[in-house]
Each structure stands twice: as structure tokens, then as C-alpha cells.
Symmetry: C2
Amino acid sequence: MSELKNVKHLQCINCGKTYPMEPGRYTCDDCGPKLGILDFVYDYEYIKTKVSKEKFAANKDNSMWRYEAFMPVTEGGPRPKLRVGWSPLYKADVLGDAIDLDTLYVKDDGINPTASLKDRASAVAVARAMEEGAEVICCSSTGNAASSLAGNAASVGIKSVIFVPGRAPIGKVSQLKIFGAEVMSVQGSYEETFKLSAEAIDRYGWYNRNAAINPVMVEGKKTVSLEICEQMDWEVPDWIVFSVGDGCTIAGAWKGYKDLHEAGLIDRLPKVAGIQAEGCAPLAHAWERGDGEEWNPEVENTVADSIAVGVPRNAVKALRAINESGGVWETVSDEKILDTMRLMGKTSGVFGEPAGCAGMAGLQVLVEKGVIKKEEIVVCAVTGNGLKDVNNAIKAAGDPMKVEPTIEGLNEALKKIGYE
Amino acid sequence: MSELKNVKHLQCINCGKTYPMEPGRYTCDDCGPKLGILDFVYDYEYIKTKVSKEKFAANKDNSMWRYEAFMPVTEGGPRPKLRVGWSPLYKADVLGDAIDLDTLYVKDDGINPTASLKDRASAVAVARAMEEGAEVICCSSTGNAASSLAGNAASVGIKSVIFVPGRAPIGKVSQLKIFGAEVMSVQGSYEETFKLSAEAIDRYGWYNRNAAINPVMVEGKKTVSLEICEQMDWEVPDWIVFSVGDGCTIAGAWKGYKDLHEAGLIDRLPKVAGIQAEGCAPLAHAWERGDGEEWNPEVENTVADSIAVGVPRNAVKALRAINESGGVWETVSDEKILDTMRLMGKTSGVFGEPAGCAGMAGLQVLVEKGVIKKEEIVVCAVTGNGLKDVNNAIKAAGDPMKVEPTIEGLNEALKKIGYE
């Protein structure tokens, strides 16, 4: 029920009803936009005819589009021009030693074109918009979703209209403006901002890039797992660890591995650990309480702004990812996040934003608790670049050593830090 | 005269004296560290046995190390772990139209691990330090050179000691600290800071990553041209355009093409355009005056801080690059740089720091003057990521449109910007 040979249909994750893939179809009619999140269902028999380890090995496209067979896009169809994905996977031995793991990989998604994993989602949104002939893409966000949309849309001359609440920091708004987005500064709350964007999308028929609402976003994000797996030569780690806000990324990360499994490229699945900030952990707390898919909204009190989501829009997909995989949730303090930012920089040369380091912070807690064992193979994702949030880097970094401009002054300073 | 089969020797660019490549050899004994900059001389007959277009096509290393045959490092030797280089080359049609060029490519080096082209230089410095068994690498800088050194060194557990003047902005210092660098905040001027770093390098035998002084830096930077050429399927553009501060980058960019020519991979050379900021253009002004290699120090008055170099340390190599290639120098105003930041973001989705956009700003001037013609094939490099300098992005961006949180308010706002 789709023009795409690899896609069967969309299915409501709440009631199971299926829909054909078609322009303007974002959520389930019966369950509404809050509960009725859709999921792409693929024809894996068809996909199997398109993919193999050998074909991937011969594929010279070093971007997420090497996995187009697993995405809701036309083969060889139009694409945004920015090179998204195929980010480095580092074997982080020094960092692994420091946190007592034998085999640790770090996936650095902060080097994407607009410096976060969200580029993967926005790239698919822009590709879909191009296929559907949409001239404007819209979202409501002040963060990585917005900048990735603005950048990817600009690369192919598609307009983006981005709704931000009046209180949005000028630095983040500036990036959007640099990419030529029409930024609507709504003189009201975030809820009013979101609502106005939804109304505008309805009225003007713009393409909708609001997270979770549009199911293609998860399909873009899952490419992070497809890459990790291929970069590990199709070895499946014991654990994959991601920070969680809205829930789209972790849902995508899990789906990526499930896709590879269904397509016969791997024969087992990893466990998934979802990490939230202590000050805003509606999903981790629901899991701790044993509440299944029932979660409560929370306040948003953490330095990790990119995962400070009190009302996650893809909660159910995220909760199911952890449950299906036999994984766990964990929470981390802001202090631990900032500590980890330093530890990771110092031992691996990767500089993550606070939300980008939260996964690694939680991984340490899980190792300390014995949930993740020293000999297990672990991949942890860094979801955003530290340059996105220099103020928190300043908090984490500490002061430099002051020295007088003489060699004696220098000698003295060096002695203090253990140099002879 | 080198343990490396591809390197013949080092040669002083001032007096022509040659030196073997050996630890601690940075500049010419006779000409001193200011004039006696050294240059690597290669054995291209040997290199020819190692490289071919077919071998490159089959090479799956998507980093600068695919060009190790052209660098002063041991084949398959130790390397820093960050994935530096193989940055995207975008065919920028919309931007090309906007500035009246038929064929424009943008090389986005802002997506390197620490977000600038300097990663290429630091990566080679760290590789050399590893080969030579150095335990500490040192430089004096507050900018991209320092952060790239700190990040690349951290990736392999090598210590970096970085000297910054007391007035260095805390944001930039923080990045260095995050990467675990020992940051020495010298309570004095930049000259005192540099002098103290030189004394310390001498006394402690640290590996020297000060720009220009150490000739390996240019050898790393030249990989940007090797990549551009391979990414264009070995077609040579009519022009390559780079912003210029110290002069190392443009010297490297030119040397990259010369290397390919010597190795028989291309049969012609591009012209090189060097762009400086009006407020600090010692090299462009020397060329305008027809002064050959005589240039005068200038004040440093520009928003493009990464090229605000009043006393360029690699002036002669840079001036020769332009002259040898039959190229030109051009200067641009800060206003034009900020305008270009917006234009480039809006039309290509690439967000550069001011120095990173200066090349594109100068390219426009050269097209307007008729020096570069519409039908010529042009490659322009973006040397650093806009996230490095959000304050100037704010200056460039302008304010967002304010709207009331009602659909009527929105309609009114949209009408103002041409939406129906």
C-alpha cells in the first residue's frame, strides 16, 4: 500500500490500524496526534533483494543514504545536499579503561553538518518534502531539530518556517536565521508556540517536521545504528547506550538493529540502555515504578537542554525499545554529566554537549551498578557537539593555570601539576 | 637523507640549505626561526610507485590519511584517532547562481572533529610526535590551532601544554580544558606568551606545534587540496580560493596541487586566490604595492579573528603560492564577511565562522571585478565552523519576526515576508 517498493504501510502504535503512506498522513485518525504515533512497516523480503554485506562493502556513498533501502524514500530520489551521517565510530580504549570497560566504542554524531544526530531526521524530512513537492517545511523547536531542518532545507533551496517561543536564546535563533529560515518568535509559551505551528501546518499545507508526529524522523535516526553495525563489521554489541529526551532517537536506534535482523544481516540484537537527566526523567521514572507505558509529565530541570523534555512526544516507542531489547533505563545528575564532558574530552578527544554526554554518564552508573559488565561490548552515542553549548563547557572546564611570563614562573606552575 | 622513503630532505625557503628530517629540526640554523622556514622536499619517483588514481579509488580510508604517501609519516605508522579530513565538497549551484558563477564548489572543512581545517595540521603534528616518542606537545594559540592540537592529542593520550595570553576568552580556553590540555594563562602580552612557549619547548624538549615554525603543519594542511582534486575526479579547477592569516593554509593548498602534478596525477595547476580581511591584510597589501616578499606588520582589526594575523609567520610561502600560481590577493570588509555568512548559510546550508567565510566574500569581489570569470570553475574553502563564534553569527543574523500567538497574528506576519 505504498508507491515505495520497500514500504508496506504505516501502522498506529496504539491501535494497530494501518494507513497507506501518502502526503499529509502523519498520525492515526482514530487515536489522535498524541497517542496515534505511526510506525513504518517494511517489506523485508523486498529489502533483502537490495542489500547484502558485499553490496554495502562496495558502496562508496559515505553518508546515511547508503541505507536508502531501509528508508521511506525513492531509490536514487532527490536528497538534501549536506553530507549527513557516516560519522566516526571510535574504539575508545583510554576512556574504556577509565570507566572499567574492556571494549567501548564511541559514535560521534556531533560532527554532522549542523553538529547533531538530528541531521539524520531532518535529512529524511527534507528528502520526503522534495519527493512530495512541498515548498515549505515547518517545525516548532529552538534546538537541534530546528537548526538541522534549517540547514538541510537551505542546501536545496527549500524554505523552512520555524516557530520559537519568545524566550528562545538569541544564539540559537541566529543559527536558524543564518540558514535563511523564517523564524517566527511567538510572544507566548512553548505550548502556544507548538499549537500555532500545528495550526499553520494545517492551514498552509506545509511539510511537518515536528518530532514524533511525523514518523519519517525515526526512520532517519535509525541510520545511526545501521552505521554502527556496519562499522563494527556486522558484529552486534551487547549494549547500545543513548541519551533520551523525546524518545525518537532511542526508538530509531532500536529499530535500526531490528531492521538489520529482519533483513538477515545480523542474527542477534543488542540490549538498549536509555539515559535521562535526573532533573527530567519521565520515562526512566515510569520504568522504575513498573508503570509500563504509563508515564507522568515532569518539570525540565537539567543542564542537558537537548533532552530536557518533560512531555516526551515519542514515549511509547522509546519505552517499547527498552522493554523489547531487555534493556534498562538510568538517570544521571547534572554534575555527573559535566564530569563526563571533561572525562570524554580528555580521554577520547570527543567534545559533546551536555545531552550528548549524558549517555556516557549513565553508562558509568550502569557499570558501577554491575548492570553492564566489564567484558561486555558497549557502544555509546554522542548525539551533539559541545560547541552547541559553550556556556556549560565553561562550567565543566575549570580555570586555567595562571603563570608569570618568566621561565621561573613557568617552572613553578609546571611543578604544581606534576611536570619536572 | 631521511628514514622516510618518500621524503628527501628539508630545505630552507630563504637560503636553500638542506637538512635531514630529524627530531627537533624545525627551522634553518643560518636564517633563524623568522626567516628560515623549512619546506619538505619529496622523492616523487618513489611516491609514484605508491599512488595511482585506481589505488585511491579502491582506498576505503575516508580520512586525510589516505594521502599518507604525500606526508612526512611512516606508512601505516601511529596516528591520532580522531577522523580528520575527507570533508564534503559540495557543488553549490544556488550559491553559484547568487554570485554569478556557473560552477562553484564549497569545501566544508568546518565539519572536522574540532571544527576547523587546523585539525589537518594538528593531526600530522600528533602523528609525528607519536613516531618520535614525544610525550608532550606544545603550542601558543587561543584559536583553532590550540583546540585541534588539544583534541587530537587527547585522542591518543598525549599531553598538550598550551600557552594563552591572560586576556584569552574563557570560552576558547574551556574547550582546551575539556580536551585535558594544560592551559598556561600567561599574565602578559601575546608576544610574551609566544616567547615563553618557545623557551619551554627548548628547555623541556616538547614537540613544537607552533604554526609555520614546524614545517609538518603545511604538509597536513595540503591534504585539503588532495581531497578536493580526488573529489572532483582529478579535474583541476581554474581557481582555488582560501582565506589567509598566518599563510600556512594557502601555502599548503598550493603545495597539494603541486604534489599531485609532480606525481603525475594531474597535468595542470589551478590559480590561487588569497583573501585577507581589510582590517588586517599585510600580505594582500604587500602584493598590491608590488613589494614582492617584503611585507609590513599590521594591526589586527577584523571580526574574522582566525585570520587576524598582523605578523604572519608563513608570509613567504603564502606570497610564493600566489605568485607561482599566477593568482591574486584580495581584501574584504567585515560587513562583506558577515553578509557572506548569511548568504552562504541560506543558499548552501554551510555555516562558517567569519574567517571561514572570508574566502567566499573575497571570491564575490573577484567575480565583480572580472578577475574570476563566470565560466571558470572555482573551489572555495570554508575553513572553520560558525559554531566557533556564535557572537558574530548573532551580528550577522538579524532579528526574528515577532508574532502574536494567534493564527491572525501569524497571517499578518507571513504576509509581510511574502507568504500568502
